[in-house]
Subunit: 310 residues, 2 copies
């Protein structure tokens, strides 16, 4: 039986041993994994820790503000890095899911390496958890935060990596978050992938397409917040379909709604959401986003699908 | 109130007036519109009629055999034309929905014109109905069988056109079919678009992609035949998504299931199908088609979507 209190004590000891008197930079996206990681290193090392929020232009509505506010309330030194241009440049003309994940990962580490260099910090903490490691080793998906497991040397990017959660699954991470006294908005936060909305824009990732899926995501999250599911989101297809808006033909966008139940993200089932609810979400998306003409609901479990489309 | 018997009498008179002693060629795809048209001209003109079934490689499983058998049972002279190569050549590198519809239409009329010339027939009959005319005139979709309405001269293709059903909506066509004593398989046949499976393969239409959507369509039709809906079908996306098959990552195909209620195809509502049924269809599609990893259900009404995706 997992004991969060004991895990925290052991983890703080280990962080102190690895870091000694060095400064640590901690990548924080605002999700439960990276926030718990940041809080752990902060508890262990105090002001030797600098949290970094990289704004990749791929975050959900209001998310950058939420992350910065959370870290401020926790009294952790934080640096905001605007890297939107670098990310969208990296995605240019990339269509394949794995190429896009690699472009994200590479830009993420380059940006991070640059910050670490500027701050003269050689050790970084990040919120890798066990499911990330399993999927990357199995070759299912390249998780953005798993380097050693796939034979990439973090030193190539100029720093060493601290991954205090890499033996934990998601429910254990949440227990640690609660034990650390983090706000519910963090401890119960819905999983959100590292590469963020880039995984939810099929085909090339552009600021315009991200804006569409960001709005659709906001609608799905608003309408499903009482459902108590593992993950709820929207995906923007690259394919188009015919529709009719204001009496005219529109060859427009297709959005898929995905709502799944899962314990640990390793397997998942599509939720049987009442049709009236799905229909309401569809109507809002089509009405509130001018280019969208069609909404689909993903009815596939994992396996054979994955939770995210990419 | 529409009177099928009177319509038939009036229609036979008109066909005789237009055709006089000329031979007529009738395009028959096996759907209710084109079969009723073929039977009407056959009743009016007897052996002066030649039914032509163009095999475009885009028909559903078993459909060419069904059409030929039906026409044989009706004792109508029939010619089978294998035009698969010409159609797939016309679709090459075409991505846009309207371009694909135009490629279909052009190949359809070229093939037909060739047959008419070979047979030395200058008058063709086809099953255009009112909804086709309305949609094409409105600019929503180019229906393949509407020429005069959009200012294209049928003479360009070398023949004149007879459209006995162009003032009728679908329920009226079915009444005529019943009055003509056609088998239920024809009179109650689910609507199927002229450009057939090409509309249900997003992106470029290839024989491989048509084979996938043909199999998915067969599964959807089998599983939904008792639902008594207006139209049930499958669509193959051009977009791909990650999945897991036999424990390995597969960047595979996405299929959407579309099941709608409608009176006349001008408006339609997505059917609230029990989730267990949808889930069963999804599982069969994913299990029986190796490249498919994900199934979606279209929850959009018409408008703002159309029934078909293209």
């Amino acid at each position: 039986m997992f004991n969060a209190k004991e895990f925290i004590e052991k983890s703080l000891r280990e962080i102190k041993i690895v870091a000694k008197d060095a400064k640590v930079i901690s990548a924080c996206s605002g999700g439960v994994d990276s926030t718990v990681t940041t809080v752990l290193v902060h508890r262990a090392l105090g002001d030797h820790v600098l949290a970094v929020f990289i704004d990749d232009g791929l975050r959900r509505e209001g998310e950058p503000e939420f992350v910065l506010r959370t870290l401020k309330n926790l009294e952790i030194n934080t640096k905001y890095v605007d890297a939107k241009k670098a990310f969208f440049a990296a995605f240019r003309a990339k269509i394949d899911a794995e190429e896009k994940r690699k472009a994200f990962r590479d830009t993420f580490y380059k940006t991070f390496g640059k910050v670490a260099k500027e701050e003269n910090i050689g050790l970084i903490a990040q919120g890798t958890i066990k499911a990330d490691v399993i999927e990357t080793v199995k070759g299912i998906k390249s998780q953005h935060n798993v380097l050693e497991q796939i034979g990439i040397s973090p030193e190539r990017y100029g720093y060493k990596i601290l991954e205090p959660l890499k033996e934990l699954f998601k429910p254990e991470v949440r227990k640690v978050a609660r034990e650390l006294g983090l706000p519910k908005e963090v401890s119960e936060r819905m999983p959100f992938p590292g590469p963020a909305l880039s995984l939810r824009v099929l085909g090339e990732v552009t600021p315009e397409k991200v804006a569409i899926v960001r709005k659709a995501t906001e609608i799905v999250e608003e309408e499903t917040k009482t459902l108590d599911t593992f993950q709820n989101f929207a995906v923007l297809h690259n394919d188009k379909a015919t529709g009719i808006k204001n009496g005219n033909r529109l060859y427009g966008n297709i959005v898929t709604i995905r709502i799944v139940d899962s314990q640990d993200a390793v397997t998942a089932t599509a939720r049987n959401v009442p049709y009236e609810k799905l229909s309401r979400i569809c109507k809002r998306i089509v009405q509130e986003i001018p280019t969208v003409v069609r909404c689909l609901y993903d009815i596939t479990d994992k396996p054979p699908a994955t939770i995210e489309f990419e």
